[in-house]
Amino acid sequence: MTPDLGWLIGFTVKMALAGTLLTLPFGILLGLWLARTRWPGRSLVETLASLPLVLPPTVVGLALLEIFGRNRPLGRFLYERFGVSVAFTWRAVVLASAVVAFPLLVRTVRAAFEGVDPRLPALARTLGRGPLYVFFTVTLPLASRGILAGAILAFSRALGEFGATIMVAGNIPGETQTMSLAIFQLVSIGRDPDAYRLALVSVAVAFVAIWLSEHLVRRSRARLAELS
């Protein structure tokens, strides 16, 4: 009933990675907007974007179920039009990871963009380059290490995601079951030694992720110090 360990680790990492990739463009755009805008409604948007960080993950999962459930408007539309089910499939695992990781990404990305001297992209434009070119060749590269650190943070959060996932994706071995869900299931059916074994593995995976992230942040700090 329990798939082999290798598959479980692979599946968990793949889901977290996919969730991070899904959340990345949105996180970058919102982070950039928050770093740039002077609009007074900014703090409201910021609070809304931080909600998934504060809410019980189960609430986030319920909300996703409300949106993507098979007999909810968007869920039904996706199923009838494209034959795509989201709820209780791997897609829901990805979606749940993306949503819970989003606030962490936005915060880091925003700080990364705020760290870029606004006169650099401005000067780039006096050299005859349009705003989009300047964004991709000056602003984004200068913020890239901060963005990478944010993405790793988001990935770490997605790795251990439990509450939202179990609500919207269920706990189906071989289909939607990640490591944290498997540990929960093993404990609930009394297979504690297996649960602990899995717990140790997840500690190792988390350790590597956080160490990598810290390492990158340090390098980006050192680089900034060298540049200034």
Binding site: A124, T126, L127, G128, P131, V138
Partner: protein, 355 residues
């Protein structure tokens, strides 16, 4: 021709300028903090003025009345900021090529050779000296084939020797490629060497403009240059005394002075020479001094004393008007006032050559 009319409120005063730039190279001259940099940034499109208009060759680049403001990339005014602002994540070559346009008059190799930066191509900006950064920034702006060059203190961070090599290049750029240039400076020597016209800015307003020699020798600048004011003396070489290490000159108004003898740059007798003398390097005495090593001691009469913030600029009529920078305390303890006869003391080596 470039027309600039701008109004920008700043924290302490308002920048309000209306200029027609007709000469190839115009210098914006004035003490720091009077809005020179702000004006350049507004022209380049980095800062939005409250109102005004900018035209280049009859093309309207900015007009508050018409609600028109071309983005910086459409203006193509090459800006070289004081701190160079090189892209830190790109090496020198990539910085230079960032805005490069094919088909222009300037090529990468020619600009790099002229500015002596060819050997720096692989380096990161963080590994460059101040002077190297400045030259790379100038080259980067030139290679984008701008319609107008805006230079903020372009040679301030170059040492004297390098300055003497780079200045001619900046001049050549304007002669060969006819890129009109507006540059900010508070260095009289740079203005005299580079500019065809000078615009003097004080607290956001144009207070004088014209040919650099005429404007800068007028002397009226002393009143507000509490900083490093330089007296300019149009003189003529009268005699060389190489054994003494001295050259004797006489100003147009008959003031006779000794300056150091420069063997390498000897000016023929009878030829004009422009000299600079910083106001803070002149000593003032009420009694005729005796037994001094200084070779230049001459009399004059105090014309005016202007004081601000503990600093006094004393204008002395000694044939030429010479400004002397003193502390408020010195003015008070010597009881200086207009009409008082005084003696001025100047070491020969305090006088330097500007042309």
């Amino acid at each position: 021709m470039i027309h600039v009319r701008l109004r920008i409120p700043l924290s302490e005063f308002e920048l309000s300028v209306s200029l027609d730039l007709e000469r190839p190279v115009t210098a914006l001259f004035g003490p720091s903090g009077v809005g020179k940099t702000t004006l350049l940034e507004a022209m380049a499109g980095l800062r939005r003025p409250a109102e005004g208009e900018i035209r280049i060759d009859d093309e309207v680049v900015y007009s508050s009345e018409r609600g028109k403001s071309l983005p910086p990339e459409k203006r193509r005014f090459g800006l070289v900021p004081q701190d160079a602002l090189l892209f830190p994540h790109l090496d020198v070559r990539a910085n230079l090529l960032y805005g490069f346009r094919e088909g222009g008059a300037l090529s990468l190799s020619s600009v790099a050779a002229a500015l002596e930066i060819g050997h720096l191509f692989e380096r990161r900006p963080s590994r460059l000296s101040g002077g190297e950064r400045q030259r790379v920034a100038l080259a980067r702006a030139l290679l984008s084939q701008p319609r107008l060059l805006l230079l903020d203190e372009p040679v301030a961070s170059l040492d004297v020797e390098l300055k003497e090599r780079v200045l001619p290049y900046v001049k050549r750029v304007r002669e060969l490629h006819r890129i009109p240039t507006l540059f900010v400076s508070h260095d009289i020597a740079d203005v005299l060497t580079l500019a065809d016209e000078v615009v003097v800015l004080d607290r956001g307003s144009v207070v004088d403009r014209g040919r650099p020699r005429t404007v800068l020798t007028r002397g009226a600048r002393g009143a507000f240059f509490k900083g490093r004011f330089e007296n300019l003396l149009e003189s003529r070489v009268m005699a060389h005394e190489p054994e003494e290490g001295l050259t004797r000159v006489e100003t147009g108004r008959g003031l006779s002075l000794f300056i150091p003898y420069w063997p390498s740059r000897e000016v023929p007798i009878g030829e004009p020479i422009l000299l600079g003398l910083l106001a803070e390097e002149v000593l003032l005495s009420k009694e005729a001094p005796v037994g001094l090593s200084a070779r230049n001691v001459f009399g004059g009469i105090i014309r005016a004393i202007e004081e601000e913030g503990g600093v006094a600029m004393v204008e002395v009529d000694a044939g030429d008007s010479i400004y002397v920078r003193l502390s408020h305390g010195a003015v008070r303890s010597l009881d200086l006032r207009s009409g008082l006869p005084v003696h001025l003391i100047v070491k020969t080596h305090s006088i330097h050559r500007l042309s």
